[in-house]
């Protein structure tokens, strides 16, 4: 053996010479910043939950969820949330009836058919739709879709109606569905497509029978997220669908949704602590729970396809 191989005495020169407090502090600050998002969720839960609990101290959960009259401004107010849920449901159904076929169709076209050059132009153009403020969509729904287009098709239509809000909301959601679906289709390994082509399948057969089934969980995640966005959208319905709670399935009538109730009541000058003030939070809680469940389903589904193809 040779000179330096036995352990020498003294302090290890490789140990940390000076403590690096700065590094530790920085890491602490970064962790703290990351917890802001946790506090945001916590803040949302607390801020909807506490007034809601007070609300349900005065109005029973059963009355809230299962009765059909929502008249918080009446002398004798009633808090049956079903008309708002119905309004949300009708408008969301119209929106997804527009957005799912158009969004999925756009995604298949972009992913399987468009040339790379066409894709470079078409995709960002479509995504401009996602960048248009919702108040602009609301204005367009009311002023153009209802008063220029729909009145000529349905003469009896009300100025504020669910149909125009739903249609425009559907267009608004197309980029969400198209973009997420396309991501899912892009993640399908090329080998699967090649396999189908090698068997003599056409592009259409390959897209419909190979790519879509393989990307299904991602596509469903896109649908779920799109529906969640439709349920949570506020400005379009506030402007174009009116503010009248209406327990109906007729899309030509005006109706109020959960979101537009929150917006209308919250914008007014309601006294803190009044039952009307608390009702904002009760409806907010319902909205948050519904969208939270849908978001979680969507996150799970996305994770599933990522795991499958990585």
């Amino acid at each position: 053996m040779t000179t330096a191989s036995s352990a020498p005495g003294g302090l290890n020169p490789l140990r940390q010479t000076k403590p690096r407090y700065g590094e530790a502090i920085i890491k602490g600050v970064l962790v703290l910043a990351a917890t802001v998002s946790l506090f945001t969720t916590f803040g949302i839960v607390i801020s909807v939950l506490i007034p809601s609990l007070e609300f349900f101290g005065e109005i029973s959960l059963g009355e809230f969820l299962f009765t059909t009259t929502w008249t918080p401004l009446f002398a004798n107010p009633q808090y049956g949330v079903l008309p708002l849920v119905m309004g949300t449901l009708v408008i969301t159904l119209i929106a997804i009836a527009v957005a799912i076929p158009l969004g999925l169709g756009s995604a298949i076209y972009l992913s399987e058919y468009a040339s790379p050059r066409a894709r470079r132009v078409l995709k960002p153009t479509l995504e401009v739709l996602a960048g248009i403020p919702t108040v602009v969509f609301g204005f367009f729904a009311l002023e153009f879709i209802t008063q220029v287009v729909l009145v000529n098709i349905f003469p009896g239509i009300q100025v504020f109606n669910a149909l125009s809000a739903g249609l425009v909301m559907g267009i608004m959601i197309i980029p969400t569905i198209a973009s997420l679906s396309e991501d899912a289709m892009a993640a399908v390994p090329g080998g699967l497509r090649d396999g189908a082509y090698a068997l003599g399948a056409t592009k259409r057969q390959t897209a419909l029978r190979v790519v879509i089934p393989a990307a299904l969980s991602g596509i469903v995640a896109a649908f779920v997220l799109g529906i969640s966005r439709a349920i949570g959208e506020t400005m379009i319905v506030t402007i174009a669908a009116g503010l009248q709670p209406n327990m109906t399935l007729n899309p030509l009538e005006g109706m109020q949704t959960m979101t537009s109730y929150i917006a209308a009541a919250g914008a007014g000058d309601v006294a803190t602590g009044s039952i009307e003030y608390k009702s904002i939070f009760a409806v907010g809680l319902l909205l948050f729970v519904i969208t939270f469940v849908m978001n979680m389903i969507s996150i799970r589904l996305v994770r599933r396809y990522r795991q499958a193809y990585q």
């Binding site: 690096r20 910043a33 756009s106 919702t134 602009v136 609301g138 267009i171 400005m235 929150i262």
Partner: protein, 299 residues
Amino acid sequence: MTATLTPPANPEAVDLRGHGQPVVDKAFRWVLFLCLFVGIAFLAILLAYVTIKGWPRLDSRLWTNMPSIRRPEQAGAESAIFGTLWVIGFTALFALPIGFMSAIYLEEYAKPTSRFARFVEVNIQNLAAVPSIVYGILGLAIFARALALGQTVITAGLTLALLVLPVIIVATREALRAVPQNIRHGSLALGATQWQTTWHQTMPAAIPGMATGTILALSRAIGEAAPLLLLGAVTFISFNPTGPFSAYTTLPIQIYNWTRESREEFQVLASATIVLLLVILLAMNAVAILIRNKTQKRW
């Protein structure tokens, strides 16, 4: 040698010409294109409609006059323009540092196995999809009432900051992830600490991507109206904000207010304001795209 071609016994079997269902395939392709076309056509009609409708009011009155209920021909959106600047300024002030730091923690510091980091990640994914009106409820309950900040610029800025935080975090993480690992390793191999590496090497290399993501996030905040409805922006404001605790209105809110007026002049004014808002957003997006294109593919 000459090869003679023997005709096949069954000519059908070697017919390589297309057969089957060409019509169906072609129709399918057209239907798909139509799906895409609907969205794009809608966008074109929307832009044309607001521009034509707003054209008569697209002049200096729009940005030099205050809103007015009684005299639509003199009304403008000056207070909304300044209100938007104030609110977005505070949004950026709160959201950018926290967003960047969160992203750096998740991307550069957290171990992939860290449960805390994974929890934060799922939480951010969920927050990104929480309806914006719910953030309004948060702002109303916590900032406006519990912290007694009232219906002010700062309440709006804080609320919108939380709203766009997930967008900034996701975009910053992507920008950091695009910096090649060997840059970090080169720095660490010289005896640089984790933070020195992040500060001197990774972040400067990621700045174009971070800038792009940030601009897109802020342009979302500029167009956002729903949470502000709960935060006092709807009240009639005919003065510019004077500070963080001032009352305010913003462009989307001003548009909303005008859509509620029945007189046609106000609809024209709303259209003109929409054009102004869209031009601002378009300019921001153009800058973002410019930064992205200018710095693409450096490694």
